[in-house]
């Protein structure tokens, strides 16, 4: 256990295929909606599957939102900035100077569409310098640089890129900055977009479904890529209480591991992935038997779901039966590096709303013995909830959220939702 200063979540912001806003995102999950559709951003007819979950075109076209976000030169950055605006407003920081705030972004595909444009010009030996996109916006670090610049944040800031586990890692990294006393308030999360290279790549390894995403289902056939962003405002507990902030949940701990098994495949036995979960619980000082809900990585690929089930069995053992496990990837798609942040927001909402939406399209009949919540959501008071993400390169990450004791928080001057 490495806790000293306690870290709570006081603001949430999301952009998803359902549109802008946490409530839009959450109500989509509760209403069993899916953003799955044919790709409009590029000609995907040449690929095995042409399915994805893009953010609404109206959002891309909204000039006022774009300008209010500081006119970012890159779309994942736009989504992340919009989410950050919402999260900061939600936390009550709209007019607060943010000089001492910090930021940790986690992303995989940010700037990738600009890189494609750059690559096309370069490949075709274009001598027209104006045809190339802005060079600074072509690198992944642009998302971080734009957000800290736009909000005037001069506190600790970094960007992690651990494939599809990036923004879960980012939440943990930001938590450490608060625990260590380097900041009282951090933004954590990230934005990601659909790009042809990544869609082509996942098609080439047969990971994209041709019909529907069915996590933890025996008939699962893969995922579709989603676009979106999730940003959390993390805050030191006393700092939040002192200003009477609404507290959604506490970040109790996080853990990382590398499976050291294969560059793309999840491990055979799930042990490498389980190490991240075990480290997370150890960091939180919470035993497996106390955890009630897991928002799974749940990509609905053949390999991931079997490995993830093994990892859960390895960690939770006999207490597996008291868990509920869901995946939201059939709703909003696999949002790559941003998926962890959106899933963390879903996890926090499950705690705050005392309701867990089901895993869409799934019968949960994957023969793995894990209790997947399907068909209907469940009203449930959740004290401890885990969100976990896995990615290429063996990256595994997990973060544990806890409900904040309402009476204690109120007595200290704050209140829980």
């Amino acid at each position: 256990m490495t806790k000293g200063r306690r870290v709570v979540c006081t603001g949430l912001g999301a952009v998803s295929c359902f549109g802008r806003g946490v409530e839009t995102f959450w109500s989509g999950l509760v209403a069993h909606r899916s953003g799955q559709a044919e790709i409009s951003l590029f000609d995907a007819s040449i690929y095995r599957s042409n399915l994805a979950a893009e953010v609404p075109q109206s959002l891309r076209d909204a000039r006022d939102m774009f300008e209010a976000a500081g006119s970012p030169k890159e779309e994942a950055t736009l989504l992340a900035t919009l989410a950050a605006q919402e999260a900061l407003a939600d936390a009550g920081f709209t007019d607060t100077p943010k000089t001492d705030f910090g930021c940790v972004i986690g992303t995989l595909c940010s700037s990738s569409r600009l890189f494609e444009r750059y690559g096309r010009q370069f490949s075709q030996a274009s001598a027209d310098q104006d045809a190339y996109p802005d060079i600074d916006a072509c690198t992944v670090a642009y998302q971080l640089e734009h957000i800290v610049g736009h909000f005037g944040m001069e506190g600790p800031a970094t960007l992690v890129s651990t494939a599809c586990s990036s923004s879960t890692d980012a939440i943990g990294c930001a938590t450490d900055f608060i625990r260590s006393g380097e900041a009282d308030v951090m933004l954590a999360g990230g934005g990601d977009i659909l790009c042809e290279m990544v869609h082509a790549g996942f098609n080439s390894v047969f990971s994209i479904t041709k019909d529907h995403s069915k996590p933890f289902d025996a008939a699962r056939s893969g995922f579709f890529i989603g676009e979106g962003a999730g940003i959390l405002v993390l805050e030191e507990l006393d700092h939040a209480l002192a200003r009477g902030a609404r507290i959604y949940a506490e970040v109790l701990g996080y853990g990382l591991s590398n499976t050291a098994y294969h560059l793309t495949a999840t491990s055979e036995d799930g042990v490498g992935e389980a190490l991240a979960i075990e480290r997370c619980l150890n960091d939180a000082g919470v035993s497996p038997s106390q955890v009630q809900y897991v928002n799974a990585h749940g990509t609905a690929t053949q390999h991931n779901d079997v490995t993830e089930a093994k990892a859960l069995r390895h960690v939770f053992g006999d207490s597996l039966d008291q868990l509920l496990v869901t995946s939201i990837k059939a709703n909003v798609g696999h949002c790559m590096g941003a998926s962890g942040a959106l899933e963390a927001i879903a996890t926090i909402k499950c705690i705050a709303e005392r309701f867990i939406p089901p895993t869409l399209n799934s019968t949960g009949d994957l023969d793995a013995g894990i209790p997947v919540l399907v068909r209907e959501g469940a009203a449930r008071e959740t004290r401890y909830a885990l969100s976990q993400s896995f990615g290429f390169g063996g990256a595994s990450s997990a973060v544990l959220f806890g409900a904040v004791d309402r009476a204690a928080a109120s007595a200290a001057g704050g209140y829980a939702s």
Binding site: T2, I46, G102, L108, F115, E116, Y118, G119, F122, S123, Q124, Q129, Y132, I135, D136, T139, V140, A141, L144, E145, G149, M153, E154, G155, P156, A157, T158, L159, V160, S161, T162, A163, D169, D176, S180, G181, E182, E196, M197, V198, A200, G201, F202, S204, G255, L256, S257, N258, T259, A260, Y261, H262, L263, T264, G272, L275, F392, G393, G394, A395
Partner: protein, 389 residues
């Protein structure tokens, strides 16, 4: 607020590969004796200016750690980082008979600023032609920035905490700070932390575009002390707790006492004073007090003689604050030696500081016994890292 830490993070191994030498002792010897000579700019691409050179890594003992078949399935980032990581672990004495003790808990952290561009372009190339072709699935994983870190983990079966930082040229410093934190928090018995950069045609095109955009060309081209050399390379450290290093009889190079990082958008000295005061206040009690006259300040980013750009003005303002507080003169990283090293810049700075602290003259009162490594980027990021003997 001085932080109380249960563990102190020490450097017990350094491994590096540069265009002119492989292995930290060899590199140190090479730059001590003469400035390395770099090759001419790629003839297929017009250089950003006449004095530009290139630093490509061509020879390093990758066959010692991988079979030919394994190497065929890797990109340069993966093999370069794995070999540099092996060097660091061998130097630390934790890689014995191709095995690492307690490997399930050894953490891996990697950083790169521009390292993914070659493999990203290679994978995407079929899509960039006027007639779209098929991508090669074997090249797909290499577009993820953390795959080189994953390869290091796979090769040496390291399943500890693992992450990859991609926050531009500040990445190396950020990774080092996070690695030191992992040791002080007791999360890993050892952390293998490193950075890498690799180049290709598109990388050079992008570098040229960046220098053109930031109007840096004239500054460097007219400088008498620097020439512009983008380089490839990899540099790794093994960090351990001081307790563990001493228990196994390993004398550390240096202690990493703390780090501060963030963004600053103005150039004034007042702001840097506050940043430096915050950095000193955040150091653990009793560590790296940076006594006047006994502090080495390695200034990593620009290091140029001329002060003409906002980037360099910021660096000068910071250097003045450090000099005033610690009576330390900045020692620019010799760019003639290391080149424009992206995320490696901070790594080479820390390696140079660690070398100086480990081999200092203990009989002299004026020998530095602490070091500050600072790195600023032209895009506003800064990092400060304090070390002590």
């Amino acid at each position: 607020m001085n932080r109380q830490r249960s563990q102190q993070a020490v450097i017990t191994g350094i491994g590096a590969i540069t265009p002119f030498a492989a292995g930290w002792p060899e590199i140190h010897q090479a730059i001590s004796s003469q400035a390395p000579r770099y090759e001419a700019w790629n003839p297929d691409l017009e250089p950003p200016f006449e004095s530009a050179r290139l630093g490509l890594v061509k020879h390093y003992p990758r066959e010692k750690y991988f079979t030919d078949r394994q190497l065929r399935l890797m990109d340069k980032a993966m093999s370069l980082t794995s070999v540099a990581a092996a060097f660091a672990m061998e130097d630390a004495g934790i890689l014995v008979d191709d095995a690492v003790a307690d490997s399930d808990n050894v953490a891996t952290l990697l950083a790169s600023s521009r390292g993914e561009a070659p493999s990203l372009y290679r994978f995407g190339s079929p899509l960039f032609k006027p007639t779209v072709g098929s991508v090669n699935p074997a090249h797909f994983p290499m577009i993820a920035r953390n795959v080189a870190c994953g390869q290091v983990a796979i090769r040496f079966r390291l399943r500890g905490w693992s992450s990859t930082i991609a926050s531009g040229d500040a990445s190396g410093a950020h990774a080092l700070a996070r690695a030191a934190e992992m040791i002080t928090l007791g999360r890993a018995p050892a952390v293998l932390v490193g950075a890498y950069e690799v180049l290709s045609q598109i990388s050079l095109h992008q570098i040229k575009a960046r220098w053109r955009k930031n109007e840096m060309t004239d500054v460097v081209a007219h400088s008498t002390t620097n020439e512009y050399v983008p380089v490839e390379g990899a540099c790794f450290f093994v960090l351990e707790s001081q307790e563990r290093a001493l228990a196994r009889g390993k004398r550390p190079y240096a202690t990493i006492d703390g780090a501060t990082q963030g963004y600053r958008f103005d150039h004034g000295a007042d702001g840097w004073s506050r940043v430096f005061e915050r950095h000193l206040a955040n150091l653990p009690a009793g560590r790296a007090t940076h006594p006047a006259g006994r502090t080495l300040h390695i200034s990593g980013a620009a290091g140029a003689a001329q002060v003409a750009t906002p980037w360099q003005r910021r660096e000068q303002a910071l250097a003045e604050v450090v000099a005033r507080t610690c009576d330390a003169s900045p020692t620019p990283l010799p760019r003639l030696a290391f080149g424009d090293a992206g995320a490696l810049t901070a790594m080479y700075g820390v390696a140079s500081a660690a070398q100086a602290l480990a081999h200092r003259d203990r009989t002299s009162d004026s020998t530095p016994d602490s070091a500050i490594v600072s790195a600023l980027t032209e895009r506003g990021a800064y990092s400060l890292l304090s070390m002590s003997a």
